[in-house]
């Protein structure tokens, strides 16, 4: 930051805004500019959706691919976008613009108290979640809710929290995070199948192996900064995936590894046999038992991640990560070995991905390189960015919205009644994902929770507004 910039920052900000002469003229002005904006948006949407929606390839009776056009749908979507933009410009847009000009208000005491209650409440809710869905849906309907929603979301919450250490705290943009997830998954799958080791032994081992790879990757790439670091980590993620595809002897390539041993309840398997969980505990056999058990494992792992991260933030290493994100040169001038500090961030983040990966393998029973593509890295990164880099609660909420939201698309069968029987909501999951991202970024450009909590205080804990906190450049 330059000296003059600081000086300018001291002056109280004068309220800026359109100061038109007559209200009527101003209203017409605004209408005109809104219409113009909407027209531009419509043109953009048309151009974008023309190849995506306007054309459809259909295989006809003679097995030839033919091009079919879908003009009505294309025009309907374009019109919807234009009208949406117009409505936004006329209603929400100016209000948001004005809000951004005002200095961020200090959170009120009420909100602070509500915030303090949020975490215990949320933890209680996720702990009781399986019971809740069983009561609401009966044990047959609950399976889907615990597995597809509960476990799936918690995996991403955990991955988000792990990546948050690297991206949110240390400010190192990592686009290949899924590589460590893959290392964890394959470590578990291969070691469990080859040596028959138990889940609870392999879980820490997978974490250690993943963090070992994190350090191995870290050594060459941490000299790079910003965009270069991002590109190389992206390449690393792809290399791991391609190795998994091509090293057929070890990984079985695209075919993947099946029959991965499932976790047992302290040695008691979840099956219908006489020594199975249900028989031992005198229950009627139900696949729900294992699912609930898996749910609590991933919940415990996610909470462990959160707990460790919260502790680390208050330790010198965590403070050094954040200092690194703020200003690397200053860190070096204070005697901090920045290479080691970055490596610990990489190793820590990778370790949690390794835990999550081995859990993933144990839950699925089958893994293949398909599960570890770049889109996974992108999903996890967008959860971190949308949640607010560095914020644990924000990341958790973002994971619930993004993963829960895309999962819920599977459930929206009533949309078929509106759009016709051929409408398949699951095909629009990615569209929803993108839309949610755009909305969050427009409303909260620095993520859902962007204020920073100081790690230590003398008299009073004051949260730090997002515009002071740096995002890091690697």
């Amino acid at each position: 930051m330059s000296a003059s910039g600081d000086r300018a920052g001291e002056q109280p900000r004068a309220p800026r805004g359109p100061a038109g002469p007559i209200p009527a003229a101003r209203a017409i002005d605004r209408l005109a500019s809104s219409v113009r904006e909407a027209a531009i948006t419509a043109a953009l949407a048309f151009g974008l959706f023309l190849p995506l929606i306007g054309f459809e390839t259909v295989t006809n009776m003679r097995n030839e691919v033919t091009l079919k056009t879908r003009w009505p749908l294309l025009f309907a979507i374009t019109a919807a976008v234009a009208i949406g933009r117009l409505a936004y410009m006329l209603t929400l847009g100016p209000a948001l613009g004005r809000r951004r000009l005002r200095a961020a208000p200090a959170p009120s005491a009420w909100r602070a108290r509500a915030g303090g209650l949020f975490v215990p409440f949320a933890i209680a809710l996720v702990v009781l979640y399986p019971a809740l869905v069983i009561v609401l849906n009966g044990s047959s309907g609950a399976l889907k809710w615990i597995d597809n929603f509960g476990i799936q979301i918690l995996i991403y919450v955990m991955l988000g929290w792990g990546l948050n250490i690297v991206v949110g705290l240390a400010g190192l943009l990592d686009l290949g995070y899924v590589a460590f997830y893959a290392v964890g998954a394959y470590s578990y799958a291969l070691l469990a199948k080859t040596f028959g080791l138990a889940f609870w032994i392999l879980l820490p081992l997978a974490g250690i192996l993943a963090s070992f790879w994190g350090i191995l990757l870290g050594f060459p790439v941490l000299r790079l900064r910003g965009d270069y670091l991002a590109i190389v980590t992206l390449a690393f993620g792809e290399i791991i995936r391609i190795v998994l595809v091509n090293w057929v002897d070890l990984t079985n390539g695209y075919a993947g590894i099946g029959g991965i041993p499932r976790p047992t309840f302290f040695g008691i398997p979840f099956n219908a046999g006489d020594d199975g969980f249900a028989a031992v505990f005198g229950l009627e056999f139900s696949p729900l038992h294992r699912t609930i058990f898996l749910y609590y494992i991933i919940l415990a792992l996610a909470l462990l991640t959160a707990y460790v991260t919260v502790r680390l933030r208050r330790l010198p290493v965590g403070r050094a990560w954040e200092a690194l994100r703020e200003d690397e040169i200053a860190c070096r001038s204070l005697g901090i070995n920045t290479t080691n500090t970055k490596l610990t961030a990489f190793a820590m983040g990778a370790m949690f991905a390794g835990f999550a990966g081995s859990f993933f393998a144990a839950r699925q029973g089958f893994i293949s390189p398909e599960s570890f593509t770049f889109i996974e890295s992108a999903t996890i990164l967008s959860i971190v960015v949308l949640g607010g880099m560095g914020s644990q609660i924000g990341v958790a909420i973002a994971a619930v919205i993004m993963i829960g939201g895309t999962e819920i698309m599977r459930e929206l069968d009533f949309l078929k009644d509106i759009f016709g029987q051929t409408f398949d909501p699951t095909q629009y999951r990615m569209l929803f994902f993108g839309l949610a991202m755009v909305v969050i970024m427009v409303v909260r450009p620095r993520g859902l929770i962007s204020r920073r909590e100081p790690s230590v205080f003398l008299r009073e804990r004051k949260t730090i507004s997002a515009d002071l906190v740096k995002e890091g450049r690697g």
Binding site: L334, R452, F457, I464
Partner: protein, 302 residues
């Protein structure tokens, strides 16, 4: 090799080239222990480059930078150390470091040279207190068992952290920022940021404090306060100060020894009074196109 006993930092034949540009040209000077040494010169003279060489941010193209801890007899090891290729060598109560061989973070951590920056480099999104704790990173890291004990919540770390906070509090009191301890550093006014940066550098317990234009952008009252702060730091900790400064009121009032650079070459070296009257120094300054500075120098010198 005869290096005077009370020399703390001995700079010899320091040369720094950037491509064809020679920013520092065969510069030699000494910084004495317990003194305030000023490095002055017109814009672009190479002052910041000298700092970057001393603190390891640049690796000098040529030259030797010796720094002594403890016993003055340590200087006798200078040539032996140079030949040995090692970074430092200790003997009976004295250690000698060759800074040009050390990476930047070790220069602060082991050789105990701290610095501030011409463009303030605080951690703006961290609180004032956090800024000072980051400066005590290495000690706290050891106390936290390189994180292991800290994660487990052992009490030895708690004690170390409380000690670090007490030290930070003492420095905040000294620079008058105690009541802003929990505010983000980026929100402080400019003068306060400069003082915080000095306090942060002092939290690393340096033997040599290098300040790059600490009075830049300060008003006269603030720069008088800065003078007092620097004098008091020297008085009660014996910390030597190397200072780059354009503000002649600071330079003339507090420095014991002034070195003048022009186009990377040393043109004067001596007590402030002698340097002020040196014809070459006056010419160098008056030759500068910056009118404000000419007026400033004329007022001081004339």
């Amino acid at each position: 090799m005869a290096v005077a006993g009370n020399t703390l930092l001995h700079v010899e034949h320091l040369t720094m080239r950037f491509g064809g540009l020679v920013a520092v040209d065969d510069l030699s000077f000494d910084v004495n222990e317990g003194e305030i040494t000023a490095l002055i010169g017109p814009n672009g003279a190479g002052k910041t480059t000298v700092f970057n060489c001393i603190t390891g941010f640049y690796h000098p193209s040529e030259g030797r930078l010796g720094l002594r801890h403890g016993d003055a007899a340590a200087w006798d090891m200078l040539d032996a150390l140079t030949d040995s290729g090692a970074r430092y060598r200790s003997q009976r109560g004295g250690t000698l470091f060759l800074l040009e061989r050390m990476p930047d973070y070790l220069i602060t951590h082991q050789a105990r040279v701290a610095r501030t920056f011409q463009n303030i480099r605080l951690f703006p999104g961290m609180t004032v207190l956090e800024n000072l704790l980051v400066a005590q990173h290495n000690r706290l890291m050891r106390a936290s068992g390189y994180t292991l004990f800290g994660i487990l919540g052992l009490s030895s770390y708690g004690a170390a952290e409380r000690a670090a906070i007490d030290k930070a509090r003492a420095w905040l009191e000294r620079v008058g920022l105690l009541d802003r301890a929990d505010d983000p550093a980026g929100e402080l006014p400019y003068g306060a940021q400069r003082r915080l940066e000095i306090a942060r550098a002092m939290c690393t317990d340096p033997v040599l404090l290098c300040l790059d234009e600490p009075a830049a952008g300060l008003n006269p009252r603030e720069s008088a306060e800065l003078n007092e702060l620097l004098l008091s730091i020297r008085a009660d900790r014996g910390t030597s100060v190397l200072l780059i400064e354009h503000d002649m009121s600071v330079v003339m009032e507090i420095s014991d020894h002034v070195i003048v650079l022009d186009y990377g070459v040393k043109i004067a070296d001596g007590p402030p009074r002698a340097v002020r009257d040196d014809a070459k120094v006056i010419a160098a300054y008056l030759g500068v196109a910056d009118e404000e500075e000419v007026a400033e120098v004329e007022a001081e010198v004339g």
